[in-house]
Symmetry: C2
Subunit: 361 residues, 2 copies
C-alpha cells in the first residue's frame, strides 16, 4: 500500500507517471526493451527527449527568445557551472542569500571569480525567516548577473513573486518550485531546476536560458561545462540521464492533463492555505517561524513547543501513513513538503491529523 | 517480447535486474513508495547506496588504499573535472589517444592546463585500429598524470592488459569495460566509468580513487567539482542519481550471483572468441579492421564489402530480433556491443546468423 509522501526531495511522484513506467519497464511500446536500454540516438528515446522539451516549453510558456536544456544533475553542480559560464573576468556577480543552498551557491561562485552577497536575510540565530523585499536588494547595475533562489526548502520561504531586476541579467535557482506555478521566463537570463521536487527523479536538471545570454558565456572553459554546448546540441551532446528524462516526460504529461500551471497554482495555493490555516488556528501549538509574506507553498515548516511533542506528532503521523515530515537535520522541527504530486486529499488527511492532535493538546 | 540487444550504450540490462525494479517500482520493500521517492538521507536508500559501494569493492577487489565514489554522469563531465582536480599549475598531463573519447578528454584538459598527446594511434584515414604497445608510450616521468582509455567503443580496440606506468599516476577511463574482467585497481591513481555499458542506466559514473591521490588534488576549484568532497561525504554530498544507483545495485547483485569478475571474464572472452571466429572464417565477407592484439571484447566491429551488403546484413538481423548492430555514425559498418548483460546464447544467435549470411554470399 502506498503511503502519503511528504518527502522534501527526492519526493513523491504522481502514481500515474510511475504506473506507466512500471507497465512498460521491460518492453517500451513494443520495442522489446526498456526505455533505459534504448540508445539516446535512437528514435524511441529521441521522441521522449523532444516531447519532454516540448511539454516544458508549452507548460512554462517558454518564449522564442529562450531555450529549454536537459542537463546533468545535481543542481549543486550548477552552483559551480553558472559562475564558470557567466562570471566574466573583471566582472562581479551579486547573490541574494535567502537560505542554505543560496549560501552554497555564492561560496562556489567565490571560488570561480568575484561574487558578493548583495543581501542576506540570515538572522542572529542563523535562520532565514523571510525573503527580502525588492527595494532591499541593491543590485549593482554593472553586475555580471544577480542570482536568487525562488524557494528555500530548508527554512520554508519563497518569493511571491520572483523579483525583477530590469536590465541586470537574473539567474534563478528554481529547483524547488519550477512548474508549481506560472513563471515569467522571459524576465530570466537563466534558470535551473533539479528535477527531484516537482518534475521527476534525481540526477537531472532542467535549464531555461535566454539564447543571447547563453551565447555570451565564456568560451575558455571545458566544452562539456558550457551551457552553449548543450544548447547547440539540443541537450544530446553527451548521453543524458535517459530514464529520468522519460519519467519526467510522464510527469509533464500528467501536469498537462490536469490543466497545466494555472491548475498547479490553484492546487498548490489551496494546499498551502489549508496547511497554514491549521497552523494559524493553534499558534500556541504549531509555531510557524516564517514571516507571512515569505511563506513557501512548497515547504511548510513549523515547530511544536517541545521536542517531546514534536516526536509524538511525527510518530502519530507515521502511524497514520504520512511520512517525510521531519524537518531538515540542520534545523529540526516539522516540514511538510507539498510539491505537485502531493494531492489536496493528502493535505486534507494531514490537516485532519493536525486538528485532532491540537484537540488532544 | 524482448529483443536481443547489442546497443552500444545505453545498453541492454540483465532481465533479472530490470524485473526486480519493475516488481517493486511502486512500493519498495513494503515502504509504500518507489525507491526513487525515498529521501537520499533515509534508511531505505542509504542501505542501497552502501550495498552498491560494498559490491563494487568486493567484485573489483578494491584495496584499502582506494575508495569507491558514486558520481554524477556523464563520463564526459569527468573529461573536464579530472584535469581540474589533478592537473596542478606548472605541471603537464600526458594523454594516450586511442579513439574519439580520448580525443575529447585531451581537448578538455587543454582548456584547463598543460596537456599533451603523448601518443596517438590515429592513422592517415582518421581511424584508430590498434592501441599502442607499452614501450611506444614515452610518458614524462614528471607528468601530473598519464590518462588512458581502456576500451574504445567506436573503433573496437581494447588494452590487453591495461599498461603500467610505474610511479607516474595513472588515470584510466574504464567506462566501457569496467566489471567486464578483473582490473588491477591498486595500479591506478583514479579510474572512472559511465554506468551505461556494463553497470546500469545512464546518468551515473563510478569512480575509484587512490585516497592519497584524491587528497592531493587542487582545492581552489568549486567544492562540488572536487573528488575529495565526495570521498569525504561517502558520495552523499548532494542528492545522487538514486534510481540509477539502485538499478546498478541490482546489476551488481546479478554479477555477484554469476560468480563475479572471473565469471564475467570467462563469459566475455567466450563471446568475443565466438564473434571473431565467425568474422575470421569469412575474411572476404566480414572485414575486421582492428589489429588482432588490440581487438576489443566489448565492441566487435567489422565491415562488409559494400554498403548494400551491410544494409542487407543489418536488415536481416533486425528481422531475426537482433538490434543495435549499426556502427557508430562517425564510422559506419557493423558494431556488436557485447557487454556483460549480453548472454552467450545471444551471441550464439548472432554467430548463427553470420554463418548463414556467409553461406548465402
Amino acid at each position: 500500500m502506498r503511503v502519503i509522501n511528504f518527502n522534501p526531495g527526492p519526493a513523491g511522484l504522481p502514481l500515474e507517471a510511475l504506473t506507466q513506467a512500471r507497465d512498460e519497464l521491460l518492453d517500451y511500446q513494443g520495442t522489446g526493451m526498456s526505455i533505459m536500454e534504448h540508445s539516446h540516438r535512437g528514435p524511441a528515446y529521441e521522441a521522449v527527449h523532444q516531447e519532454a522539451i516540448a511539454l516544458i516549453t508549452k507548460l512554462a510558456g517558454v518564449p522564442a527568445s529562450h531555450q529549454v536544456l536537459l542537463l546533468p544533475g545535481p543542481a549543486h553542480l550548477h552552483f559551480a557551472t553558472v559562475p564558470m559560464n557567466f562570471l566574466h573576468p573583471g566582472k562581479r556577480a551579486d547573490y541574494v542569500v535567502t537560505g542554505t543552498w543560496a549560501e552554497r551557491a555564492v561560496e562556489e561562485a567565490q571560488l570561480v571569480g568575484q561574487a558578493r552577497t548583495v543581501i542576506s536575510t540570515r538572522d542572529a540565530e542563523g535562520r532565514y525567516q523571510r525573503v527580502p523585499r525588492r527595494e532591499e536588494i541593491a543590485v549593482d547595475p554593472q553586475a555580471a548577473y544577480v542570482h536568487t533562489t525562488s524557494n528555500n526548502t530548508i527554512f520554508g520561504t519563497q518569493f511571491h513573486p520572483i523579483p525583477d531586476f530590469g536590465a541586470v541579467p537574473h539567474i534563478c535557482d528554481v529547483s524547488s518550485d519550477f512548474l508549481s506555478r506560472p513563471l515569467d521566463v522571459k524576465a530570466l537570463a537563466f534558470a535551473y531546476a533539479g528535477a527531484q521536487k516537482n518534475l521527476g527523479p534525481s540526477g537531472l536538471v532542467v535549464g531555461l536560458g535566454n539564447k543571447a545570454f547563453l551565447a555570451s558565456a565564456r568560451k575558455d572553459i571545458p566544452k562539456v561545462l558550457r551551457y552553449q554546448t548543450h544548447a547547440e546540441a539540443d541537450s544530446l551532446y553527451h548521453t543524458p540521464n535517459t530514464f529520468a528524462v522519460y519519467l519526467m516526460r510522464n510527469v509533464l504529461q500528467w501536469i498537462d492533463r490536469l490543466g497545466g500551471l494555472p491548475a498547479m497554482e490553484r492546487r498548490n495555493r489551496a494546499k498551502a492555505e489549508a496547511l497554514y490555516g491549521a497552523i494559524d488556528r493553534r499558534p500556541d501549538l504549531f509555531q510557524a517561524p516564517v514571516e507571512k509574506p515569505s511563506r513557501s507553498w512548497m515547504n511548510i515548516v513549523f515547530r511544536l513547543p517541545s521536542q517531546a511533542l514534536e516526536t509524538e506528532f511525527l510518530k502519530g503521523a507515521t502511524a497514520a501513513g504520512m511520512v517525510g515530515l521531519k524537518g531538515h537535520r540542520s534545523v529540526g522541527g516539522v516540514r511538510v513538503s507539498a510539491y505537485n504530486a502531493v494531492s489536496e486529499d493528502d493535505v486534507k488527511a494531514l490537516v485532519g491529523y493536525m486538528d485532532e492532535f491540537a484537540r488532544k493538546h
